[in-house]
C-alpha cells in the first residue's frame, strides 16, 4: 500500500532547524505567548529571523544553559510558551537538573529544542555530539520527546509542541546541514502516533530522526530481494506508540531499531523493554554502540559509528535469520 504523504522521490534536502524556525515565527505572529530563548546558539541568519520579527519575545541569555532552562521555566510560569535553543549536549549535560526540576517536575510549558544531536554532523567532534539524550531524558517523568525525521515533520512537530500544554523536548540534528525530505506537506502528524511509511510482513524497522530516510532505502533494497519490510517512523520517543510497536512485533516477529544515538536506553532500549515484557520477539539495535563519536565529516563519522545503510541491512538480515531459526 502506498503511503499518501510520502514523497515519490527523495531528491530534496532541507534544514530541519530552518523548518522549525519557520514554524516558530509563524506561531509567534499569531500567538503573543510564544517566546524564543537562546544560549548563544545556534549562530547564523535562521534564528535572527525570529529576533527581527519579534524582538520583544526574543531572549538570548548567553552561554549559560542551566540559566536558559530555568529562566524559560520562569517565563512559562508567567504564562508564556518559551522555546529554548542550545547545543543538545549542553542542554542535556549542563541543564539536566534544570530540565528535571524546573521543567518536568512542575510540568512547565517549556519547549526545549536540542540542536546538533547525534553524531552525524561531524563538525565539532565528540565533545559536541550528544548520544545519550534520549536515554537520559526518557527516564524523566512527564516529558514528551520528539525526534523528527525531516523538515516537513519537524515543522509539524514544532506546531504540535506549541499546542501541547506541557514540557516537550524537540531533538534536532545538525543545524548547519540539510537532510533528505521524505514527507509531503499533507503529512498527518500527531504526537505519540508512529507513522507507518511502508507496510511489510517479514520484519519491521523502527527508526527515529534523520535515519528514517536510510531505513526506507534499506527496505526498498530488501524488497528487491523478496523481503517485505515495514517501516515505522517513531518520531515520538515518549510517549511511545506501544500499540504500533506491539502490532509490528506480533505481525512481523523481527524488529530493528535505528537512531543516531546510543543503543543504550534510547529508542532501541524503549522497544526492547516494551517487547520483552509484552511480546518477546527478536530485536536488533542500530545506533552508536557504547562509544563516543569522532571527528570528521558527517559521512565519515556516520560510517565510523556504523550508522549507514549497510549496517542497517546487516542487522535486518541477522534478525531475519534468528526469526527463521525459531520458526524451524
Amino acid at each position: 500500500m502506498k503511503t499518501p504523504y510520502l514523497r515519490a522521490k527523495r531528491d530534496v534536502a532541507e534544514n530541519l532547524y530552518a523548518a522549525h524556525n519557520r514554524a516558530l515565527v509563524a506561531l509567534a505572529r499569531r500567538d503573543a505567548r510564544i517566546v524564543s530563548c537562546y544560549g548563544d546558539f545556534p549562530p547564523g541568519e535562521v534564528g535572527e529571523v525570529f529576533a527581527k520579527e519579534c524582538p520583544d519575545r526574543f531572549l538570548d541569555v548567553g552561554i549559560a544553559e542551566g540559566h536558559l532552562i530555568t529562566s524559560a521555566a520562569g517565563l512559562a510560569g508567567a504564562g508564556f510558551i518559551p522555546f529554548t535553543h542550545c547545543h543538545g549536549i549542553f542542554g542535556l549535560g549542563r541543564a539536566y537538573n534544570q530540565i528535571r526540576h524546573n521543567v518536568a517536575y512542575d510540568e512547565r510549558n517549556v519547549k526545549v529544542v536540542l540542536c546538533n544531536c547525534g553524531v552525524i554532523w561531524g563538525g565539532l567532534g565528540p565533545s559536541h555530539q550528544v548520544i545519550e539524550d534520549l536515554a537520559a531524558l526518557r527516564a524523566i517523568p512527564k516529558l514528551v520527546i520528539l525526534s523528527p525525521a525531516d523538515a516537513v515533520s519537524c515543522e509539524k512537530a514544532t506546531y504540535a509542541a506549541a499546542e501541547y500544554p506541557g514540557p516537550v523536548i524537540l531533538r534536532l540534528p545538525s543545524t548547519g546541514d540539510a537532510h533528505t525530505t521524505i514527507y509531503t506537506n499533507d503529512l498527518a502528524y500527531q504526537i505519540g502516533k508512529a507513522i507507518c511509511l511502508r507496510e511489510g510482513k517479514d520484519a519491521t524497522i523502527l527508526a527515529a530522526g534523520i535515519l528514517v530516510s536510510d531505513a526506507l532505502t534499506v527496505a526498498e533494497e530488501m524488497e528487491r530481494s523478496g523481503v517485505s519490510v515495514r517501516i515505522l517512523d517513531v518520531h515520538t520517543i515518549k510517549p511511545l506508540d506501544e500499540d504500533a510497536i506491539l502490532q509490528a512485533a506480533r505481525e512481523t516477529g523481527a524488529l530493528v531499531t535505528v537512531e543516531d544515538a546510543t543503543i543504550l536506553g534510547g529508542l532501541g532500549g524503549a522497544v526492547a523493554e516494551l517487547t520483552a515484557e509484552r511480546c518477546p520477539v527478536f530485536v536488533r539495535r542500530v545506533g552508536v554502540r557504547d562509544r563516543f563519536g569522532d571527528s570528521g565529516t558527517a559521512a565519515q563519522v556516520k560510517a565510523e559509528c556504523q550508522l549507514t545503510p549497510p549496517f542497517i541491512r546487516e542487522s535486518l538480515e541477522e534478525v531475519l535469520k534468528a526469526k527463521a531459526r525459531r520458526v524451524k
Partner: protein
C-alpha cells in the same frame, strides 16, 4: 520612615508565624529550623506588607511573585501562605504527607507559591524569567532597547540563601538580570552564615555579597534582616530603583527567635517534644 504601628504589627505576625512553623516541622518530626526562622521576618514583610497579591486569586496574572530559592526553608512559607488565606490552616497538618500539596520543599502545588524549590541555586534564574515576562507585552520593545514603552506588569521577589550562592547558576542569573535591566526584580539574600554542614565561611567563603552583586550591576543595600523596620524600609527603597535589579543583603541569625539555637548550626534538626517546648516558650507573646 516606616510607621510604628505597621512595624509592630508585622513583628507580631512574624512571631506568630515562627510558632506555627515549628508545628509544621513537628509534622515531619524534623525541619529546617535555622533557615525558616532566619528568613521569617523577610517573608512576613513581603507577604503581609510589600507584595501586591490576592489570596482569593492565586493565579492572578499581575500578582507579584514570591520565589523562595532556598526551598528547604519551607515551613515558615507554608505557615505564611496559610496565614494569608491561600490555604486552610488545617492543611498545615498535612505537611510532608504523601500526596499532600505541602511537599517537603516549597512546591507550586500549594496556592500562593510560585516556585518549587529543592534543587539549590536555581530560583534566581526562575525569577529572571518571571521578571522578564512582566515586561513582555505583545507590542513591547526589545528588553535591551534603551526605552521601554510599558511598565512591568508585576514585581518579582526572590529569597536566596547564602549557602546556595555557592552554586554558579546564581551568578549566571545575577548577570542576566542586570543585562536585561530587570528593575522589577528584588533579590533578598538571607545571610544567616550557616549551610547544611557548617559555617558558610568554612565551607566556601563567598566574601562580600555586596561587592558581588554590585559588580554584576545591581543596586545593593545591606540591612539587619531580622529588623522589621529595616526590612520594610529596604523593600520600599527597592521599588524606587529604575533600570537595575536590587539586592538586599539581609544579615540574619540562623534560628532567630529561639535563643537556645540562635547562631548554631541548626540547619536541619529533629523536632522532638522538647525542642518544640523550648521553641514555643521562647516565641510566646
Amino acid at each position: 520612615m516606616a510607621n510604628e504601628a505597621l512595624v509592630k504589627e508585622l513583628e507580631a505576625r512574624a512571631k506568630k508565624l515562627r510558632r506555627e512553623s515549628l508545628l509544621v516541622m513537628k509534622e515531619m518530626g524534623a525541619g529546617w529550623l535555622g533557615g525558616s526562622l532566619s528568613e521569617a521576618d523577610v517573608v512576613t514583610a513581603l507577604l503581609f506588607y510589600r507584595m501586591r497579591h490576592d489570596p482569593t486569586k492565586p493565579g492572578w496574572p499581575e500578582r507579584d511573585r514570591l520565589i523562595i530559592s532556598k526551598g528547604h526553608s519551607c515551613e515558615i512559607v507554608y505557615a505564611a501562605v496559610a496565614e494569608a488565606g491561600y490555604i486552610p490552616k488545617e492543611e498545615l497538618k498535612t505537611y510532608s504527607h504523601p500526596r499532600a500539596r505541602l511537599q517537603t520543599h516549597v512546591n507550586i502545588k500549594t496556592p500562593g507559591i510560585d516556585y518549587s524549590g529543592g534543587s539549590l541555586g536555581l530560583g534566581l534564574s526562575f525569577a529572571v524569567g518571571s521578571a522578564a515576562g512582566a515586561y513582555m507585552h505583545a507590542t513591547d520593545a526589545n528588553l535591551a532597547a534603551p526605552s521601554r514603552r510599558h511598565p512591568a506588569k508585576y514585581r518579582v521577589y526572590c529569597v536566596v540563601g547564602d549557602g546556595e550562592s555557592n552554586e554558579g547558576q546564581v551568578w549566571e542569573a545575577a548577570a542576566s538580570a542586570s543585562h536585561h535591566r530587570l528593575d522589577n526584580l528584588t533579590a533578598i539574600l538571607d545571610h544567616n552564615r550557616f549551610q547544611s554542614t557548617g559555617a558558610t565561611s568554612k565551607k566556601l567563603d563567598m566574601l562580600s555579597f555586596v561587592d558581588k552583586f554590585r559588580s554584576f550591576g545591581w543596586e545593593v543595600r545591606e540591612i539587619d534582616g531580622n529588623d522589621m523596620r529595616a526590612i520594610v524600609e529596604a523593600l520600599d527603597w527597592a521599588v524606587t530603583v529604575q533600570d537595575k535589579p536590587q539586592a538586599i543583603i539581609a544579615h540574619t541569625i540562623k534560628g532567630k527567635g529561639i535563643p537556645a539555637y540562635e547562631n548554631t548550626n541548626c540547619h536541619f534538626m529533629k523536632i522532638t517534644d522538647e525542642v518544640l517546648r523550648i521553641g514555643q516558650e521562647a516565641l510566646k507573646d
